[in-house]
């Protein structure tokens, strides 16, 4: 993939972080449940690599906070840390690990989401209760509240990547049903 295309896909993913959040905010609790920011970030990391994913995470979260007011300023550091770590880990695993396509994708998704969420929880804990045992309450609370979003990501992201590969818009990583049919 050329540098220009990577830059444009990253730009589109940043814009999607903002506009997807806008689209879903009409539904109550959509930010916490659907994780619209993470959708764009993970798709960007999976298609363009960890660096572009991290840029998408940082810019997407900051622009969404500026334009949508979500995530709120209180949640911003934790969400920012979670998104950047998730993008870096998912992108690196997809680029380096060589398992079967879906195993690689799910390993990347699970690792990225879990570690990102743990880092987000730690940041949240450090922000709201840096010393007391309450730190673990905050960190644990953040982690538990992110679980529904993780389930939705695990269903949504592979489907999205497959649709994009089928449309010929991202390089095929054997996720494309067309390629499997042609291969058979």
């Amino acid at each position: 993939m050329s540098k220009v295309k990577k830059a444009m896909i990253t730009a589109v993913c940043i814009a999607l972080c903002v506009s997807f959040m806008l689209l879903l905010r009409v539904f109550p609790g959509a930010g916490a449940i659907y994780s619209p920011l993470l959708t764009g970030v993970i798709v960007c990391a999976a298609t363009c690599g960890a660096g572009c994913g991290a840029l998408c995470a940082a810019a997407g979260v900051l622009l969404s906070a500026v334009i949508n007011g979500a995530p709120s300023a209180a949640m911003l550091p934790a969400v920012l840390a979670e998104s950047v770590v998730c993008a870096l880990i998912s992108g690196l695993i997809i680029a380096r690990v060589r398992l079967s396509p879906y195993n690689t994708l799910y390993t990347a998704l699970l690792s990225g989401l879990l570690i990102g969420c743990a880092v987000g929880g730690i940041v949240q804990g450090l922000l709201f209760a840096p010393k007391a045992p309450a730190f673990w309450v905050w960190a644990g609370g953040y982690f538990v509240s992110s679980l529904p979003g993780m389930i939705i990501m695990l269903v949504l992201v592979p489907g999205l990547l497959r649709a994009l590969a089928d449309a010929g818009l991202v390089p095929r990583r054997e996720l494309s049903t067309k390629e499997q049919i042609n291969g058979d």
Binding site: F27, I67, F128, V155
Partner: protein, 264 residues
């Protein structure tokens, strides 16, 4: 016609509005770090004084500045409750199961809450007095020295500029698709998470495929015109000299940071 959000920016002509965006971002970071480090009573008084002065100088409506705090009240109450009940310091009022609320815990919780509220207010002033496009230019300018150590700053600048241009188009397209999916019976408000994910899938696929198609077409046309990302002079924007207001803002922010971190 679809109304697009213009962000939280409030146009104005105050001293704070006139400060260079890059300087404003640096000042915000310094002030936020200073406020976060305010652990003593004099430190808290200094942090509150500077925050009030910044809000006054911004000439913004108080209700607008405090709107993020009103949205924060639930989380704020939780911060207060959790820190009070789980503090290991001081003598507890009573003990029940794992909860041991104490006076020192309450004071500690109030300190944490004050710092969080002040940082939120400073952040609100930053985004209320700076348009998103200016914030992006500010970030680009702050990142520009990293170009000397191999960070692709021109690529990042191109990406951020394109992203800002894409937002209204993608939102308008997505809004049409969301309404169409809702009319076809998509259930976004169901309590079942798998069903939520399934309802979201058609909307997300349509939005993402449409957006990626735009990116593909744009990158093809840019490459056909000989565009390459490595051109270092992508953004020939006016750099802008630092004014007296910029220097004063930097000085005050650095002074508060030094006061909180080194002295108090």
């Amino acid at each position: 016609m679809t109304r697009l959000p213009t962000g939280m920016y409030q146009p104005g002509y105050s001293e704070i509005h006139g400060v260079n965006p890059a300087v404003k971002i640096v000042c915000f970071v310094l002030l936020a770090l200073g406020v976060a480090a305010a652990n003593s009573l004099p430190g808290a008084v200094a942090a509150v004084t500077v925050t009030v002065a910044v809000i006054y100088l911004s000439q913004l409506e108080i209700a607008v500045v405090f709107a993020p705090i009103l949205r924060f009240w639930g989380l704020g109450a939780l911060v207060l409750l959790v820190n009070t009940c789980f503090s290991p310091y001081g003598k507890a009022f009573f003990e029940w199961w794992i909860f041991a609320p104490s006076l020192s815990g309450l004071l500690y919780a109030l300190g944490v809450l004050l710092r969080v509220v002040l940082v939120i207010l400073l952040g609100a002033v930053l985004v209320l007095t700076t348009s998103p496009i200016n914030l992006t230019y500010g970030m680009e300018r702050l990142l520009s020295p990293l170009g000397r150590v191999g960070v692709p700053v021109s690529d990042i600048a191109l990406t951020l500029s394109a992203a800002i241009q894409f937002i209204p188009a993608l939102y308008a397209e997505g809004e049409t698709l969301r309404k169409a999916q809702t009319a076809r019976g998509a259930r976004f408000t169901t309590r079942n998470y798998l069903e939520k994910a399934r309802s979201l899938m058609p909307l997300a696929v349509s939005v993402f495929v449409g957006a990626f198609r735009r990116a593909d077409e744009l990158s093809r046309s840019m490459e056909a015109r000989g565009w390459a990302c490595d051109c270092a002079d992508f953004t020939p924007r006016a750099k802008g000299e630092l004014t007296l207001a910029d220097c004063s803002a930097l000085l005050v922010s650095a002074a508060l940071f030094a006061l909180e971190v080194i002295i108090l």
